[in-house]
Symmetry: C2
Amino acid sequence: MYGLITRLTAYPGRRDELALLLMDPAVRKHGCHSYIVAHDLVDADVLWVTEVWADQPTHLSWSEDLRQSGAWRPIYGLMAKMDDSIQTRPLGGIGL
Amino acid sequence: MYGLITRLTAYPGRRDELALLLMDPAVRKHGCHSYIVAHDLVDADVLWVTEVWADQPTHLSWSEDLRQSGAWRPIYGLMAKMDDSIQTRPLGGIGL
């Protein structure tokens, strides 16, 4: 499996709109085992997205399809910054 | 819901033993919706644990019970360092 932990900073007051966009069920995430969007408890503009995908190619092709579909284009008006993702190899646990 | 993202550093060569301890099904995690243990893809000694609990009191009481049970006492021979957890409020997504 392939995992990502990413810190996103929304523009002030836009965090929940950004979260809704990320969780939009209309955007299918085939091959994704876990995709959790969470508020940071300290910084009111920060979201954490933790993801587990079948493998890295599955995630890459999803990202490319998403880019071409333009479904997340509104993100540029909501997200001030996206940190480099921490890349992981999920081993197991609860919720996979 | 209450979430945690934690970076653990194992002693050299002990990462997988540490991961197995963390994922030990004998240690019940009542009220835990997601508990994923993953290798860091860059640092061979680092694990990432991402957790989602019903709420913070549920997590605190589990931690206290675990401490008293001593079930994870071996962790001190396996884990060189535990960073401060990033605390989150999970909103939703896949795998919850």
